[in-house]
């Protein structure tokens, strides 16, 4: 067994944190784990990509284009930008709440409609799951918990090789104690929004 998750989003959204939670959970399951992260300059509000691979025999920290089993999209435009990481059978989880790039915010560029982004994915891949992760996180208490919502949603996905309990345990271990309740709540809300 080999499984690749490509986590894409924007610097500051907690992409690295989510990859740590999934990676530690995979290690706890006894899998080999190989990950690759983007640090440094790209984190200043730029696009962020984190690759997580686990299984019986993985060593490469990068995955070939098209070979993602799951694309975890923290942001709709970034999900679309990174579609070539997946193939027609990949599962795509897309947070529908956008983060506007500064040139859009300042009125120099347009952000496409969320519907058009959803349609762009559906035109080439029928395994799309959408979630309003940021809105759910705000409901849970704070927007920064959107990554916990996303992890909860992944836990609810059919065929994901790591169980909910292991993911939740890993999340609890990774987040600072004072944010534990918020994250657990956000995780559960993400989980139930996917299962319903």
């Amino acid at each position: 067994m080999k499984y690749t998750v490509q986590i894409v989003g924007v610097g500051g959204q907690g992409v690295l944190m989510a990859s740590m939670v999934l990676g530690n959970a995979a290690m706890d399951m006894g899998f080999k784990v190989a990950m690759s992260e983007v640090h440094g300059m790209a984190q200043r509000g730029g696009s962020v990509l984190s690759t997580l691979r686990f299984g019986d025999d993985v060593i490469s920290p990068l995955e070939a284009a098209g070979s993602a089993d799951l694309i975890m999209g923290f942001e709709p435009a970034e999900t679309c930008r990174n579609l070539p990481l997946g193939n027609k059978d990949s599962v795509i989880l897309m947070n529908l709440d956008p983060v506007l790039p500064s040139m859009v915010a300042a009125g120099f560029e347009e952000y496409p409609s969320i519907e058009s982004l959803k349609d762009a994915v559906l035109a080439v891949n029928s395994n799309l799951y959408t979630i309003d992760a940021t809105s759910i996180a705000i409901e849970a208490g704070k927007a920064v918990a959107a990554n916990a919502v996303m992890i909860g949603a992944v836990a609810a996905m059919k065929g994901f090789p790591i169980s909910k309990d292991v993911l939740l345990k890993s999340l609890i271990e990774q987040v600072p104690e004072k944010f534990r309740d918020l994250n657990v709540k956000a995780f559960e809300m993400g989980y139930s929004s996917m299962s319903s």
Binding site: A34, E37, R44, S60, L62, A77, R81, S102
Partner: protein
């Protein structure tokens, strides 16, 4: 956070964390660096744990000094570790080249973190050539686990040879993460004694000539160690042979079938006999390595010397690229030569136009104010904006476009002097506070000495921001049991005799604009210190007082001066109306300062 001082167990570690753990297991007593991605995390971790690990650690003022302090420690019998990004080794190359002649006593590792694909660098130079240039042994790990284990072996080899060893990594090793099995910690030897030996440590011509011969002898011995090293091993079988090192090995290992692999970890000097033996009888040899044909050219030479007529494929044959980092996909280039796993067909790019999302200066970043002021003051004058290495590199983007020339640390100020003398254009040089201490003082002195009429702006945000907020001489030091005072940039600049020195707060864009106008008119070197702490650093220190900016829509005349000049990510323009994002806005007031009708206002 990982616990790198743990007694044992398994952890999911970043390559840089694994390397740091390797130092603790090897008993490293001394470490130094100048921060640079992809090596920076090692310094950030050592800042926190070096004292508990019994190790001395410092952020040196630049890589050259970092090399020198670590060289002294190793010459005194203390195991030392100096680390930097690839371009940093250019700065440190001067001491390194002659240190090879002197050699060391305690083991010394020089980590060069190269950055294929320039993820956060200005070039993708292949520093493996420094090992052949300096005649120093070199090792290259492939994974976090191997990196940790290799540190210990590297120290053993360094001590056996009495030479510093280049520990060469790349972004996909430093920033890879994997499961690492921890070993035993070794109590470090923190201090030693420097036993004088003039013939070794004083390279005047008479001694240097002899030490050159000594080095060549040691290089021969290094060759033998490489031949015998278990870091160079053969895996798998097949009549096609692949020779590889570093992260490229992981791609070959996982995605190529039916080949014999010679995995090299000790890559200078190369194990020539082992390579010749490996090549013998093979149908073909493929070299899989990133960047330059470093292994490939040497393998071709080894084949020629051993009269081995086996085709060697790689970059010279056009099968693999020389530019940019590899990934599993890159192996498609050798599909006709060996069996490579088939990859799924990637989904096509979407046709919906997506907005660009380059890295950008943060909300409330004081650099925005200084750039806005400089642009306003320059007006229609023909000004060359010389910039430097740091967050302010991002000033290249609209609306600032305040970077016309960037080459290296401190390079902007040096170039500004050259432009001032060789063109009729005005030159303004931007550099950060850490860059000022790193390599900015000599070009400033040069401008004063040679009377270059330039403006140097020190963007003093009280930290080394881009690489993750390390302290620098301008902030003083307070970690690892050592406290020092901040060095005041203004006093330093005045002290060397600069006549025009002004310190301004860039949040006051109007005042900054006036000072910049005066500086541009000044007949001589003008230095402006744009002093304001990085909000991210303040946030980390829990000292950021967050206010917000409100927009009075009735007063707003929709001139859009705020978005056009400051372009803060917290400012929004929707349906012609300006608003602020309370989640991003810190209430710094830069936009308020440029609003002509006071429609914007800071609220406590």
């Amino acid at each position: 956070m990982p616990n790198l001082l743990a007694e044992g167990g398994r952890q999911l570690l970043l390559g840089n964390e694994a390397i740091t753990r390797g130092l603790i297991e090897a008993g490293t007593g001394f470490a130094s660096t100048y921060p640079g991605t992809p090596s920076s995390e090692v310094g950030n971790i050592l800042e926190k744990i070096s004292a508990d690990a019994g190790m001395y650690f410092e952020f040196s003022t630049n890589e050259k000094v970092a090399m020198e302090v670590s060289a002294a420690a190793a010459s005194s019998g203390v195991r030392s570790f100096v680390f930097m990004k690839h371009v940093g080794l250019n700065v440190a190359a001067d001491p390194m080249m002659t240190l090879a002649y002197s050699g060391i006593r305690g083991g010394m590792l020089i980590m060069s973190a190269d950055d294929p694909s320039c993820h956060s660098s200005q070039n993708e130079q292949d520093n493996r050539y420094y090992s052949t240039l300096a005649l120093l042994p070199m090792m290259e790990p492939s994974t976090p686990q191997e990196a940790k284990d290799m540190v210990k072996e590297a120290y053993r080899v360094s001590e056996e040879l009495t030479l510093p060893l280049i520990f060469r990594t790349t972004t996909r090793v430093n920033h890879a993460r994997g499961v690492v099995e921890l070993g035993q910690r070794t109590e470090p030897k923190r201090t030693g004694h420097f036993d004088k030996d003039v013939a070794r440590f004083v390279n005047i011509p008479a001694y240097a000539k002899q030490n050159r011969v000594r080095l060549l002898d040691l290089y021969k011995k290094a060759q033998e160690l490489s031949e015998a090293s278990s870091l160079n091993f053969v895996e798998g079988s097949g009549d096609v042979g692949i020779i590889t090192s570093g992260v490229s090995y992981t791609y070959v290992r996982e995605f190529v079938k039916g080949a014999s692999i010679l995995k090299l970890g000790f890559t200078n000097p190369l194990p020539e006999k082992k390579i010749a033996e490996f090549v013998k009888g093979k149908k073909a040899i493929i070299i899989v390595e990133e960047l330059e044909p470093f292994l490939e050219d040497q393998v071709l030479r080894i084949c020629a010397q051993n009269r081995l007529d086996v085709p060697v494929y790689g970059k010279r044959s056009g099968h693999l690229p020389r530019a940019w980092e590899f990934s599993p996909d890159t192996l498609s280039g050798i599909k006709g030569l060996v069996e490579v796993q088939d990859f799924s067909q990637p989904l096509p790019k979407v046709t919906v136009p997506l907005p660009s999302r380059p890295p950008t200066l943060c909300a409330g970043c004081p650099h925005r104010g200084m750039f806005a002021a400089a642009k306003k003051a320059a007006g229609t004058q023909d000004v060359i904006f010389c910039s430097d290495i740091g967050c302010y590199t991002l000033g290249v983007q609209p609306p600032f476009q305040a970077a016309d020339f960037i080459i290296c640390m401190g390079g902007g100020a040096g170039a500004a002097g050259g432009f001032a003398e060789s063109t009729e254009q005005k030159a303004i040089a931007f550099m950060g506070d850490s860059t000022f201490f790193h390599a900015g003082i000599p070009p400033m002195v040069n401008a004063l000495f040679n009377n270059h009429k330039v403006v140097i702006v020190v963007l003093d945000n009280r930290t080394t921001a881009m690489t993750g907020h390390q302290p620098n001489p301008g902030t003083g030091r307070d970690f690892g049991g050592v406290s020092t005072d901040a060095i005041d940039i203004k006093s330093l600049v005045e002290g060397v005799g600069v006549k025009f020195v002004e310190e301004i707060n860039p949040y006051d864009v109007k005042a900054a604009t006036k000072v910049m106008k005066d500086a541009l008119e000044f007949d001589g070197l003008a230095v402006i210190i744009s002093k304001c702490p990085c909000p991210l650093e303040l946030k980390k220190q829990k000292q950021l007082v967050i206010r917000t900016v409100d927009v009075d829509q009735e007063k707003c005349v929709k001139c859009y001066n705020c978005v056009r000049t400051i372009a803060c990510p917290a400012l929004f323009k929707k349906d012609g109306q300006i608003s602020t994002d309370p989640n991003q806005c810190i209430g710094c007031g830069m936009c308020v300062n440029v609003c002509p009708t006071k429609a914007l206002g800071v609220r406590e």
